[in-house]
Amino acid sequence: MGWLDANLLTMLNGLALAALLFLIAVGLSLVFGTMDVLNLAHGVVSLTGAYIGVALLDPATGTIGFIVAMLAAAAIGLVLGAVLAAVTSGVSDHLRQALLTLGIAMIAGDVLGEVFGSDVRSVPPPAFLGGSVEILGRSYPAYRLAVIVLSLIIGVALFLVLERTKAGALVRATVADRTMVEAIGVRSRLVLGGVFAVGAALATLGGLLAGPVLGAQPGLDNTVLLLALVVVVIGGLGSIRGAVLGAVLVGQVQTLGVSLLPDLASFLLFGAMAVVLLLKPAGLLPARYGTGARA
């Protein structure tokens, strides 16, 4: 068995992890790019999604039930995002944003713990994806393959909206040049606020989809937040393509990396991040900023 054969499944699995990370992280990145808000409540928003799964799903849930849960998660995410956009709107200093959003995250985390208990809860995948499929002679959970496909669909949709619509153009322009925000009208500001809502919705959706893989429990919000931060910073804040690359990289570091260098497993994630940032401080695929050519 060659190296590739031996590690192919691990790499595939890294992609599944990357798919989840992308869904959760991309909102964090876009919100930073457009609103200039570093939303440290993003992790708890995502955990909320996982708990929505706990509340709505059971092992017998069918396709319809799962879609309903996804819609519910997205809807609740939209609301959470809108609330966060409103609450953070008057706070422009990054450090005070951190104080505010982390404060909110701590309160929300405590509330979630009260509601759902401190025990680790599991989120069952939909019944028809509950089994395993045979890949290279090994069992692989069908659900994880579905997650890859679903994330691809959502990612492509997101990309199309950003590249092909007026609202998307506004978002891209804002990411490229923050100073133009001052010049735009109320409607456009609403569009940007919408980015916050959509970003949060993607996080809750990601949290829900991650439920069957990661479970749901207090404290998971911090883990998810740190991973998402690493993803977007490695990829380049504000950049969708960066979030994709960052997620893939982190996914592989967490799977292929620990498989090849098991002794260094605990150092790999942050070590990799440090190396990337020292070589490319703006991230691997930074959003395109004015290069100064027009200076």
């Binding site: 992890l17 680790v120 990661l214 883990t223 498989s259």
Partner: protein
């Protein structure tokens, strides 16, 4: 104080100073100062029939909170069954939050000892916290009944450290021979969370397993609290040709591991052995059917078929609407230990309790009868358990006794 606030209104700097001092002052319950140790020795209530203050320090927040809940319930159940008395003394129970790590746990123990002046401390989930407070309890002459933390070196015969739970190594050890017998010359892959306890569980197992002629196929230590995906490791397990797998995981990691063991197709092909925390309490509920067939060793199962246990399970389930866990039993037993010691002790001071602890003999527990060994660890039997369906749910069915 309001006066000083008003006076300093225009000087925010002074205001802050005053506020800080005021806040510090509020923290004081006694004005004895902190420059002598007269007040810090536990048990200033020394009358024979007076109340006794006991500190219950278990996690009320963080990842170990579920264990803290069970332990509180177990301890409280014993008190309720005994009219809130231990050794004839009315109990004044002081609870403190151990949190997740020593940076919250150590101050919590410090607080119940030096502020609340308890005569004994019960609880402690985290081994690092337990090791961190060893010095404090010894110095203050307040006995600590460890009701969970399993670090091998924790109890060493010191007068003030007693343990009603277990040691990591011996649980691991108890599985060595049975697994060696089961694989009949085949190899076993071992895996654990990469922290002190994980290494101790593996070391104990390996010692007994290799002594029984077993061979290790490979080892992996996964980043503790940071691993969510075991596929890379499970892939190695499958490549190793092992005939069985021994792991140590607890909490959320136990849930994710067992579910992935199943979904990556290892369950049913490679028998999975582990210390019982892998499938204990809420963890088992979250694992669901994925846990079926997992074999574990532990000093308790709520399915243990003895009269004492059935009575205990009945009372516990009635009181808390959930079956008891090993954590509840450990705390329940800690209360029983204190009960016996206080009955024998000359007064309720920490020192008196510590002296009496050495002579309490055997404890009748839901898990069976046990006593402290020379190191003050419990000398107790272990049970081989297997996760099976019981009355529509899942339970750890006892399938054998281990030494």
């Amino acid at each position: 104080m309001p006066g000083s606030f008003r006076r300093h209104r225009r000087h925010p700097r002074h205001l802050s100073v005053v506020a800080t001092v005021a806040a510090l002052a509020l923290g004081a319950t006694a004005c004895g100062g902190s420059l002598s140790d007269s007040g810090s020795a536990g048990g200033d209530a020394s009358g024979d029939s007076g109340a006794v203050k006991v500190g219950l320090v278990v996690p009320a927040s963080g990842v170990y909170e579920p264990l803290g809940v069970d332990m509180t319930n177990g301890f409280q159940l014993y008190l309720n069954q005994h009219d809130n008395k231990l050794g004839g003394h009315e109990v004044d129970l002081v609870k403190a939050d151990e949190g997740e790590t020593p940076d919250t746990g150590v101050p919590a123990v410090q607080k119940v000892i030096s502020q609340d002046k308890v005569s004994a401390v019960v609880g402690i989930v985290n081994s690092a916290t337990a090791l961190g407070v060893k010095e404090i309890v010894t110095q203050n002459k307040v006995p600590l009944i460890v009701a969970n933390a399993g670090a091998d070196d924790l109890a060493d015969g010191s007068d003030y450290i007693w343990r009603s739970s277990f040691t990591n190594g011996s649980i691991g050890e108890s599985l060595g021979k049975p697994v060696a017998d089961a694989v009949k010359g085949g190899t076993v892959y071992v895996m654990a969370a990469d922290y002190a306890a994980g290494h101790e569980y593996v070391a104990g197992f390996k010692k007994a397993f290799t002594a029984a002629g077993g061979k290790i196929a490979g080892e992996a230590y996964t980043p503790f609290g940071k691993t969510a995906d075991w596929q890379p490791y499970l892939s190695k397990v499958q490549n190793s040709g092992a005939k069985a797998v021994y792991v140590f995981y607890a909490g959320a990691e136990a849930v994710n591991f067992v579910k992935q063991y199943k979904s990556f197709g290892l369950a049913g092909k490679l028998p999975l052995y582990a210390p019982g925390f892998l499938t204990e309490g809420g963890v088992l509920k979250a694992q669901g059917k994925a846990a079926k067939g997992v074999r574990t060793s532990l000093h308790y199962s709520n399915l243990l078929d003895t009269t004492e246990n059935k009575t205990f399970v009945g009372a516990y389930t009635k009181a808390y609407d959930a079956p008891p866990t090993v954590y509840a039993v450990q705390a329940y037993d800690a209360a029983a230990v204190l009960d016996k010691a206080l009955a024998d002790a000359d007064g309720t001071s920490g020192d008196a309790i510590a002296k009496a602890l050495g002579g309490i003999g055997e404890i009748d527990s839901p898990r069976g009868t046990w006593k402290f060994d020379a190191d003050h660890n419990p000398d107790e039997p272990y049970f081989l358990r297997e996760v099976k369906e019981v009355d529509g749910g899942l339970g750890n069915v006892i399938i054998g006794n281990l030494e």
